[in-house]
Symmetry: C2
Subunit: 139 residues, 2 copies
C-alpha cells in the first residue's frame, strides 16, 4: 500500500509524454528512449523507465504486455483493445466496445475481485498479408 507522493513535471517527464503521444505505434522502452534522446541527448534509460512507470501508475499511459520480451507503452489511457501481427510483431488498436458485462461474467466464475481486463487479438497485418499473397514467403 504505497502512498503517492507529490509528483513534479520535469522536462524529462513532459518530453517522454509528448513523444509518446505523437505516435500511434506502441513503442517499447528503448524506442521511447531513442525518440526522447533526440530532444534530451543526455537523458538516461533509468529516467525513461522511472517515468514510464510513474505515468502508468497515474493512469496517464498504458503499459502493454504484448509478445513476451519487452513492455510496450501507449499514450492512449482509455480502455481499448489491441491486435498484434503474429508475423512482424506490429501492434495496432482495435476500435471495438467491450463485450457486454464481460467483467461481471468473469466475476461469476472465479473467487477473484475483478478489477479490469485486457484483450489482445492475434492476426496478420495488411503488410504481411500482402507480402504473403505476393508469394514472398517470410518468417
Amino acid at each position: 500500500m504505497e502512498l503517492h507522493q507529490q509528483r513534479r513535471m520535469t522536462r524529462q517527464r513532459r518530453v517522454i509524454l509528448e513523444e509518446l503521444a505523437k505516435v500511434t505505434s506502441h513503442p517499447s522502452a528503448d524506442e521511447v528512449y531513442a525518440m526522447v534522446r533526440r530532444r534530451i541527448p543526455r537523458i538516461s534509460m533509468g529516467t525513461v523507465y522511472r517515468n514510464l512507470d510513474v505515468l502508468w501508475e497515474s493512469g496517464t499511459i498504458q503499459k502493454l504486455v504484448s509478445g513476451g520480451s519487452q513492455m510496450r507503452f501507449d499514450a492512449n489511457a482509455a480502455v481499448h483493445y489491441h491486435v498484434r501481427c503474429v508475423r512482424c510483431g506490429r501492434v495496432d488498436d482495435v476500435a471495438m466496445d467491450p463485450p457486454a458485462r464481460i467483467e461481471e461474467r468473469a466475476a461469476n466464475v472465479t473467487k477473484y475481485k475483478i478489477l479490469g481486463h485486457s484483450l489482445e487479438f492475434a492476426g496478420v497485418c495488411p503488410a504481411c498479408k500482402k507480402r504473403e499473397a505476393t508469394g514472398q514467403g517470410t518468417d
Copy 2:
C-alpha cells in the same frame, strides 16, 4: 521458416510435462524448474527453458504473457481465459465461454486477418483479499 526436426522424448522433457500437468496453477519457468528438480536434481535451467519452448512450439502447452516479468506455462492447451492477481501475480483459469462473435467483430474494425485472441482479467485473488480484509496491509 524453420523446419521442425525430429523430437525425442527424453526423461527431462517427459518429467517437465508431467509436473506441469499436475498443477492447475500457471508456474513460471523457475517454478517448473523447482518442481522438476525434486525428481531430476541435476537438471539445468537451460534444459527447462529449451523444453518449455519445444512443448510450446508443438502446441502441447500454452505460454502466457502475464504481468510483464516472467512467462508462465499451462499444460492445458485448449483455449481458455485467465485472471491474474495484481497483488501476488498468481494466475488462475476463468471458465467462461468466449463473447459471441468476438473475433468477427474485431475483423470488422481492422484490416488484419484475425487468427485468435487472448483475454486476461486482472483482479485480487481470494488469499490477497483476505489478507487485506484482515488489515494486514501489504505492499
